[in-house]
Each structure stands twice: as C-alpha cells, then as structure tokens.
Amino acid sequence: MPEQQPYTPEQFLNAEKEMDRLLQDSAKRYKTPVNAVFAKLSDLTKLTARDFVKWGRSNSLWPMQFGLACCAMELLDFGSARIDAERKGYLLFRGTPRQTDVMIVAGWVTKSMVPRVKRMYEQMAKPNYVIAYGECATSGGPWWESYNIIQGIDQVLPVDVYVAGCPPKPENLFTALMKLQDKISGKTAGDTEPSVSENIRRTEDSRV
C-alpha cells in the first residue's frame, strides 16, 4: 500500500469538498447513499442520548440547602419523616451549590441579598432550575411596598416553577418538584422548549 502523503494547506481548506468527493465515490462504489445512513444513525443516537439525559436529570433533582426566611421552616418539614421526599429522587439537601440542581428560594429577598443569591445561582452546576417558593419569592408578598426588598425573585433569576401560599405546605413543594420533573422530562406542554434557565443563559451577556 502506498504511503499516505501529508495534506497540503489547500486540501485542509477544501476538506469539506474532499469529504463530499469521498462520500460520492463510495456511493458510486456501493450503490448506497452513505451520508444519509450516517445522518440517520447520528439522529438516532442523539435522540436516545437526549431521552436518557432527560430521564437522569429529572430523577435526581438535588435541592440546595438554602433558606432565607419563614418558608425555610417548611423546607425543614419537607426534609423530615412525614414527607418521604427521597422516594422521588429529591435527595438530601446539599450544603454547597456546586452539587445541586434546584434552588428553592424560600423567603423574601432583600436588596443586600440580591447579589449573594445571584452568585449562588451562578455557582450551581448547569443546567439548574429555580423554584420561587411562597408569596415573598413570587411577588414580594406582604412586604411588596417595603423599601428594602425586591418584588419577587424573578426580577433577578429565571424562575421555572412558582408555588403560591404563605407559606405553602410542604406537600405543595413536593408537587412543585414533580411538575419540574415533568418539565425536564418533556411530559408537559411547556417542555418542548428547553428550560427557562437554559434559554436565558444563552443571552446572559445582554442581561443586567
């Protein structure tokens, strides 16, 4: 067999054309559209992999141990024995943002906390999700006209699920996490699109 000559710069630049030529040659030789087969195979792999990743993500949602105010009491209750949260894959609350997927914003967010909450969000492993738990995180709640809070965490972070109530029961948080699971795994209508957080991250530079 003759030794392969090193590619010239022209060949590098025309690699695409070269590839086409090779494929057409092989198609002539074997009388099958090889590039079509490759495309089909690639699509199949991508689909299977995407479903597999979705399944994995939606079944191991790890929340962050992060309480701001009153609603954190209900998070404690969520972690206790009455609601057995581990059966759905919401494992132990993790102490560091780097090991978590879900940030549950429980309580009102003051102006001095905003940069800190934002930094926690940025430290989380991607893709990550945000649940606004309770009235204060949703809209400011009873403090909406106070001079030192922001009217809802959605002014700073992209929120995936809102939970209403003051405070919502721990059962509501369980439902919210199930909805988030459906959203990730593509069972609900909102999930043909990627998560809100994924969308936003692409245009992150243009955001405040």
Partner: protein, 365 residues
C-alpha cells in the same frame, strides 16, 4: 500562629438563617466573633405605622416564624390595652393553652436543630419533627392554617374551638409527655453530646443581666426571671408551674432549661384545660373597615415569648399606631454571642450560636 480572620455566611447551612459572622481564630480557637445582621431587614415598624391595627398581625407573625402565635398575642394585647378592651374569660384560657402549645412546638424545632448542630445527625431531628407535626395539626384545626394563624381578634379568638378540642388536647398532652420523656435517653446518657455541651459557651450571670438577655438564655445562667410569673397575664396566675433555671450557664444548661420548659408547658396546658369553662363566649370582634378608636396614651406590654421577653412600646393614633417599637429578645441574646464563644473551639461556635435560639427575621425586623 497568628490570628486569622474568617468570614461565615450570610448564606451558610448552619447559621440558622442569613447571619454573617466575622470570626477571628488563632489556630482552632475562636478569639472574637462579630455578628453582622440586617440581611432580612424590611422595615416592619414603618410598615405597621401605615396599616390599620388589625391588619398588622400578619406582619408581627412573620417576625418570629418559629412561634408566630406568640408575637401575634403580644401585638394584639397591646392594641387591646390601647383601646381598652377586656379579654373574655374563656378566651383567656384558650389563649393560654394555644400559646403553650406554640411554645412546645418552638422548643421542639430548636431541640431538633440544636442536636443536629452538635453532630448527632437527624435521629432526634426526626423525632422532634414527628411531635411538632402533631402539635401543628391541632393548631391548624383550631385556626385554619398550618404556620401563620392570624386567629387572634380583639377580645378573643377568631372562632370557636373545635367541638372535640378538650379531648384532643388532653390526648396530645399524653402523647407529648410520653415522647418528650424519651429524649434524655438519647441525650443525657450520650457522652458525645455531654462532652460537646458541658462547659461550652459559658455565660456568666452578670453578663447575662448586663447585656439584657432574657428567656432561656437568662434562666440558663441562673436568673429566675419569667414574665409569666413576675407579671402574670391571662390565667398564668391561676395555674402552678415551676420556672426551671440552670447553674453554670453553658449550652447544656440552656438545653436543660428548654427541655424542662416543655414539660412545664404540658403541666400548664393540663391545668388550664381542667379550669376552662365549657360554655361561654370566646369570639372576639370581627375585623372591620374602621375599628374602635384608641386612646392616645402610650402603652407598653411585656410577654414571655419562647425566645425571651418581648416588649411592644406603642404611641397609638386613632386607627393605626403613630409610632411603634418592637423589642425582640433574639436581638439582645445575639449580642451575647461574642461573650459566649470566646476561647471555644471553632467547631463549637455553631452549637453555641444554636443554643441562643435566634430567629433572624426577628433580629433584623
């Protein structure tokens, strides 16, 4: 080794809320602690000046979210004093019972998290939350809400107690008595727990008085001061109970004081249930667009909250407070953290912080 400065918080799993601590350590020994607060400040007092009197309980409840009913009671009592309304006889008993149940729920939550801080992970936490869930269930059936009740009305309560309230309350007392008595098996006979709490975070009697500490922190240092006995309200003068005090003022004493207080609360509830009349009115005034006018004299009300002594000083206007000041016990107690944790190990800092039992929303207001 030189002194190193460490920042802890404000978002930290074991600071019991958003508290920031500036800690100076020499090796592993804490030299000084400086709490930085204000991360939950939202101007409650200012907001309350712009609300009608009976719109404000939903603000005062969120001050101390571990025991919301206690602050609710403090505020509504000060309004009653300003307007000059007597509390109905049967409502006095009902309020006493509910407040004591709330105190038990608050101390149970404290105990579960405190033992967690000490490294005994989750066994007692699960136990305490099992009992707390039962208490909250009863309070939910009384008021209609699990955590924020808002069922205090001027002169009474929002609605009549459920028909089987007495029966259920007695049964709950038995249940609590039985299960709370099991806790010392896990704690007082556990060498690790004793080692980590005895002689740690010692607070002297004079320091506690000078800094204005109150509640279990003050009583743990050996001062028998309890507003329920020194200035009784509702039916606390008709029931007998003991005010537990500690001797050394360390974490163990504060744990012991709170533990004994839970048993004393059960005792108070049982006596109040015995004395409570079966018939009589206990429903307070409904919330109206315009309520009764208050007299312009300043009022001050003291109440024994689960965390210490809470005071409201209010200059009333006709329909809303002209000025209101809330004295939160947790704020005064937190200022003692620096005194308590000097020369303790860094790992003991968080149990000492936990033993004060702070609620940051009440500190920051």
């Amino acid at each position: 080794m030189g002194v190193m400065r460490i920042n802890v918080g404000p978002i930290h799993p074991s600071t019991h809320g958003v508290l920031r601590l500036i800690v100076d350590v020499d090796g592993d020994t804490v030299k000084s602690v400086e709490p930085r607060i204000g991360f939950l400040h939202r101007g409650v007092e200012k907001l309350m000046e712009n609300r009608m009197y009976m719109q404000s309980p939903s603000y005062t409840e969120k001050l101390d979210y571990v025991a919301p009913m206690a602050w609710d009671d403090l505020f509504v009592s000060s309004v009653e004093k300003a307007i000059g309304i007597e509390v109905k006889e049967r409502a006095k008993y009902a309020r006493t019972i509910l407040l004591e149940f709330q105190r038990i729920a608050s101390h149970l939550l404290w105990l579960g998290t405190f033992v967690n801080d000490n490294g005994q992970l989750f066994t007692l936490f699960m136990w305490a939350f099992r009992e707390r869930a039962e208490v909250l269930k009863l309070l939910e059936d009384v008021s209609g809400s699990r955590m924020f009740y808002v069922n205090w009305r001027l002169g009474g309560l929002q609605r009549e107690l459920p028909a089987d309230f007495k029966k259920r309350a007695y049964a709950l007392c038995d249940y609590l008595q039985q299960h709370i008595s099991e806790y010392p098996d896990l704690l007082d006979s556990n060498p690790v727990f004793l080692e980590r709490t005895r002689g740690v975070g010692v607070l002297s009697k004079s320091d506690a008085i000078t800094y204005g500490a109150s509640g279990p922190v003050l009583r743990g240092s050996g001062v028998a001061e309890d507003t329920r006995q020194s200035e009784p309200y509702y039916v606390y003068d008709k029931v007998t109970f003991r005010v537990p005090i500690g001797s050394k003022g360390d974490c163990y004493d504060r744990y012991r004081v709170r533990y004994e207080e839970m048993l004393q609360s059960i005792r108070i509830i049982r006596q109040a249930l015995d004395l409570m009349p079966d018939t009589g009115d206990m429903i307070g005034m409904p919330i109206r667009l315009i309520g009764p006018n208050a007299k312009p004299d300043p009022v001050m009300v003291r109440r024994e909250l689960p965390r210490g002594e809470g005071i409201i000083y209010m200059i009333p206007d006709k329909q809303r407070p002209y000025r209101i000041y809330l004295r939160s016990p947790a704020f005064a107690n937190l200022s003692l953290l620096g005194r308590m944790s000097v020369n303790c190990k860094f790992a003991d800092l968080f149990p000492v912080l936990g033993s004060i039992d702070i609620v940051l929303a009440e500190v920051d207001r």
